[in-house]
Symmetry: C2
Amino acid sequence: MLEQIGQNAKAAARFLLTAGELKNKALYAIADALIEKTDEIVKANEIDLQAARENGTRASLIDRLILTPARIEGMADGVRQVAALPDPVGKVLDGTVRPNGLKIEKVKVPLGVIAIIYEARPNVTSDAAALCLKSGNAVILRGGKEAINSNKCIADIMRNAIEKAGLPKDCISLIEDTSRESSVALMQLTKYVDVLIPRGGAGLIKAVVENSKVPVIETGAGVCHVYVDESADIDMAANIIFNAKTSRPSVCNAIETILVHKDIAEKALPAIKAKLDEKDVTLRCCERSAAILGSGVEAATEDDWYTEYGDYILAVKVVDSIDEAIAHISKYSTGHSEAIVTKSYKAAQKFTDEVDSAAVYVNASTRFTDGGEFGLGAEIGIATQKLHARGPLGLNELTSMKFIIRGDGQVR
Amino acid sequence: MLEQIGQNAKAAARFLLTAGELKNKALYAIADALIEKTDEIVKANEIDLQAARENGTRASLIDRLILTPARIEGMADGVRQVAALPDPVGKVLDGTVRPNGLKIEKVKVPLGVIAIIYEARPNVTSDAAALCLKSGNAVILRGGKEAINSNKCIADIMRNAIEKAGLPKDCISLIEDTSRESSVALMQLTKYVDVLIPRGGAGLIKAVVENSKVPVIETGAGVCHVYVDESADIDMAANIIFNAKTSRPSVCNAIETILVHKDIAEKALPAIKAKLDEKDVTLRCCERSAAILGSGVEAATEDDWYTEYGDYILAVKVVDSIDEAIAHISKYSTGHSEAIVTKSYKAAQKFTDEVDSAAVYVNASTRFTDGGEFGLGAEIGIATQKLHARGPLGLNELTSMKFIIRGDGQVR
């Protein structure tokens, strides 16, 4: 079954290599069909919601699962936005003529077949399919069991829409078996799948990275830091920390730990705490920061430095120097986003040179790590690995490249 | 032990982030030291050679193992050539100012710690170390047991040389335990190793791809094709096939199969065979090509289409159309290099559009797939995968990138 899906996807991917403008036609057809079939989607979604309620699923998860007509319109808009982006395929990245007359070009090509393993949000079904299709890739979707009825309905609508537009249905496929086995089998499908992208919580990503034989683009986990340098503007530091922690604590570009230089800690920490108190943020403090802040804070343990709270909790540590701050980040960060708040040119240069994360900020909130905010268009996640792509995973990152060499009989 | 090597390499990699010109100083010091200590290397190599002879190792493998003063001079020259290449680190790939005033730059950075698992050739020890060091990466080398004495000697010389030049010794390390276990353990060292590159035969590469938890850049295996289109110049086709098969049959960019259009097969096949007879190439033919060529050829089986002979053997198949040729390549190729010989503009366009391999040629030999021939400088192998790098793996491909964002207090 999975073997057949893989084989069909690979054949569809060959078709997509030269599909050109048909891809956009198909994307607009998907958007129209989603709107037209809103009632069908809402009905399918209702089955998932009822099952979730019966299983006593918590409210925040049910909220992720709900598809209202407004949300479906949002999904269709998202697909149209992707259609309107420039097509990355065929872009000439480099080119040269060699002394022997060979003309060598390096051009962007699709990756081939992309598999996406994701969790509860059914809107990922159309988001991910649109990004893959636009970049010329066939996609195999494997969503969570909580949203299976919604996902089946959305996938069917998309498959029919692209077929009418002239593309093979199998450019988009959904694995309907949501067992753990189907997910593990997908990770072994090296014959047909070129890349696997997990999208979801830390547990899912870890399982995929550890078990996949298909190459993985790792997205997600963010233990992000703000370092408050001795020369920082304290108001700016408090504002940035407040924004980076509380504007949306559940997302991966929110911060989990602040590091404060010892020479500014006495003044800065009370100001930072006062601001965070507006949203009742719990502080988990090292000994020195606890001594400065007094009562109303908790003690941090070694585990705290590694933890992505995803909640109104912040770990706090006083450091002796910028070197200690960078060493702490090097040890505990997941390599997502880190910021320094400073007035010092030298400290800013040192921090941006030596901190090895996907996004390194000076005097700005880590919350900007996002394809849209970076001006890159829609994205499928934030890559925290170092191979292939790092940072927002947009259309460009869903491509590979090849060399084309034109000669007139050259031999070596 | 391995844990300690990993930890030291990671610390050295942090130092390398800002090592700048010290890297070149260290590379020239390595080259000088290799020349200066030629006798030492030759002596250590003699121990390996003696063991190989006692084990009845075949001559071709012993030839790969031998280090003469001339070969050591070649190694030193290779290191100097790498030193003379431009430094990829710090290159600004892209940059923009966002409407909110954030200045965003995408810059090249080192990957971090690169591990290389390789087989008998001891010259890889200095080649790989030079490329990794130049691109700002610490390297962990794990060579084969046949060359362990040579490798230890070369690694020691390099470590001492870079230390004198001002870099930490641990920018280069060698795993002296050549057991299978040490190799498997290295593949699990995700905490310290950012990328693993296997360099060697198909067996080694398969083992690494299947077992590594560390991200892998796959290099190597080449089942390459030449397709002779119905409109081909027959002399050109015979020349290109002769060159691509016989100039160096053991390398990955040599061809293994030719596909010949049915409308030119009667004329082309005898001419191609006549040329290949000069080097006694064995032909493994499909039924139709065998019928044309008559006696003196062998019958091809299904397995032949998948096989990288690395020898004076060539599989031959007659196809009905360019579509059949492309479908054959899509099924049996390892995605390395393929060529079409044609006078037709349309066929050339179709072939380069639809063949999905790292290098696609029109009217030229596949033997040009090489960093030097492409004008990219030294390389560590040819990547046949689609993520991160495809084709020659040079200095640029040994880097990652990060975003640097400069603001003045922006929050989201």
